[in-house]
Amino acid sequence: MPWSRFEKQWSIVEDGRILSYKDAVREAIDQAMCLDPKVFAIGLDADDCYGVYGTMLDLSHPERVLGTPISENAMTGVALGAALTGMRPIHIHMRADFLPVAMDQITNYVSKWKAMFGGKPKVPLVIRAVVGRGWGCGAQHSQSLHGMFAHLPGLKVVTPATPRDAKGLLLQAISEDEPVLVLEHRWLYKNEGAVPEEMYTIPFGKGNYLRRGGALTLVAPSLAAIHALKACEEHDLDVDLIDPRTIKPLDREMILESVQRTGRLLVVDYDSPACGFASDVLALVAEEAPDVLKRRAGRMTFPDVPMPSSGVLERRFYPDPERIAARVKAMIGITQSEEAFV
């Protein structure tokens, strides 16, 4: 299977030490483990020779990388139990699709624990999962699911798009005393960018402008952000491109400020549409500033069906830079008039 031949996505050209997304994740884990002996990693196949696609290899403290049986539900409870008693676990899943197996623990335990006891417990638990779409993996091995997790009160949902964010957001997650779900996109693993060598954190709830422009606000997390950037750069689009970085908490202010300027909003989200992240952003504008919209707001998401396996269909399932560009052009292009509210 040609994962190994898999190409990089679009990268931001930057100065500084260049690192891949995968290595940025690895560095964050390594530095966190070196800094704090309470930090440990645990996960199915996290300790094997492939080391979760390379992010767990050559760490300074391999003795704090633990494998597990195929028992995602109990192991989430084990990680939570360890977090409550003085450790700082990072629970790792090779695919986000395995998280529903642990959903009792994630819904009823992990995300509830702090509030359920009056805010007293510290729950320094990070769950890392890789969104692994590709090569005909089909309906059960291609899901994003961040919309589903964002629905749960008590859980922070983080979706790094760049190597710099991958490191900084993961370190922030590890430093938090509340549970954080970090969803990494497999297609970004080879992407490169400038990543500071020292430890640093990126705060949650602060979006990132990947591009400035005036004609349209484009909100896109994770791989969608990178595809959107490619679309904008290749087509020289006049777009304010916001990577929210964290789905929850969401940087409402940044989005609203931008939409107020541009009057046009498109959300590109590589997840299912219903009750998802794209809905949430459109709802925000409907609730706070519908009057500034010069045009209907737009959503580009997966079709509302499970991912098919056939490559022909799989390639069509995801939006891509070309289709994003076409959609942006259509939204910007139409001259504004009374009837143009389409």
Binding site: S71, N73, G77, G81, T85, M87, M116, P121
Partner: protein
């Protein structure tokens, strides 16, 4: 059964523990219909011996992971009575600041890191505490306490498997009242759970209505865990006197309870008096102390404030 080697004062301490829990149950029975406790209660009436006998073998820093039926375990593990009673009364001084109610109790000072009402999952949390001890090279024990119904759940299986593989200091404590709500064990659990557990770890057995039996078996099980660093299983059959939830008496036709013979407190009383470890006067003194403690706790709770609903405004 071997009689536990304990100092007389320790026997009396067991007695006081049992009584403290029982007295709280009786208080709930008394006031619950007045709607002063807005929380579903799963009473531990009749089952006190299991938690008390086990916790007498635990340190303050040992962990006890509880499910929905919390009162006996929480008190036996050392939670102050006031904190629990205030929680039942929905006050901010409660152990969970009024956010938890009867099913969600919290007192990390006494190794109680939170209990859960979704059956089964708390077993894994205890294993996680065991992992924590193992990683930190602490020689504490984590106890996962659960009922026969929880054995149905996959998390029971997964938790035993991981504890055995990773050799974690966890006591799997099965408080077996033979019921899951109104379902008898024969309808919900095919195999003998202790026989299954024996494929993973040493298993121990005690009469869950007899605190001395539980104390002794837990003593051996905990000794084994401290010696090997690995898990052990303790099976304690016991009897649920009340309906699964609420304040009505159990009346299932296939459940037979003799409230004198099966009573952990009367059993211990008979033993203490028979073996001259206590006089009737001494026991009376303890009862008075326990009653006073409850009265104090109830007053404390009633004088404590309710939470302010404005905390929920955005």
């Amino acid at each position: 059964m071997e009689t536990p080697r304990m100092k007389p004062a320790e026997f009396l301490d067991l007695y006081e523990q049992l009584l403290r829990i029982r007295t709280l149950s009786e208080h709930i029975l008394e006031v619950y219909q007045d709607d002063v406790m807005e929380t579903p209660v799963h009473l531990t009436l009749g089952q006190e011996a299991v938690a008390v006998g086990v916790c007498a073998n635990l340190d303050k820093d040992d962990v006890l992971s509880l499910g929905h039926r919390t009162h006996a375990g929480a008190l036996a593990k050392g939670m102050p009575l006031k904190a629990l009673v205030a929680e039942l009364y929905g006050r901010t001084t409660g152990c969970s600041g009024s956010y938890g109610g009867s099913m969600h109790v919290y007192d990390p000072e006494h190794g109680l890191h939170g209990s859960s009402a979704i059956v089964g999952g708390n077993i894994a949390l205890g294993v996680g505490a065991g992992l924590s001890f193992s990683l930190q090279s602490k020689d504490n024990i984590a106890v996962s306490m659960f009922g026969d119904g929880a054995c149905d759940a996959g998390v029971f299986w997964e938790s035993m498997n991981y504890a055995a593989l990773a050799k974690l200091p966890v006591l799997f404590l099965l408080e077996d009242n033979t019921l899951s709500n109104v379902m008898p064990k024969s309808k919900h659990l095919f195999p003998d759970p202790a026989a299954i557990a024996s494929h993973f770890m040493p298993t121990f057995f005690a009469d869950g209505t007899d605190v001395l039996s539980v104390y002794q078996a837990a003593n051996e099980a905990c000794g084994e865990i401290r010696r090997t660093g690995g898990p052990a299983f303790l099976h304690c059959p016991t009897k649920r006197w009340m309906k699964h939830q609420g304040v009505e008496e159990e009346d299932l036709p296939f459940i037979h309870i003799d409230r004198s013979k099966d009573c952990p407190i009367q059993k211990l009383e008979r033993y203490l008096l028979g073996s001259h470890l206590a006089t009737p006067g001494k026991l009376k003194e303890i009862r008075a102390r326990v009653d006073q403690a409850l009265a104090d706790a109830v007053r404390f709770a009633k004088e404590s404030p309710y939470p302010n609903p404005e905390v929920l405004e955005v």
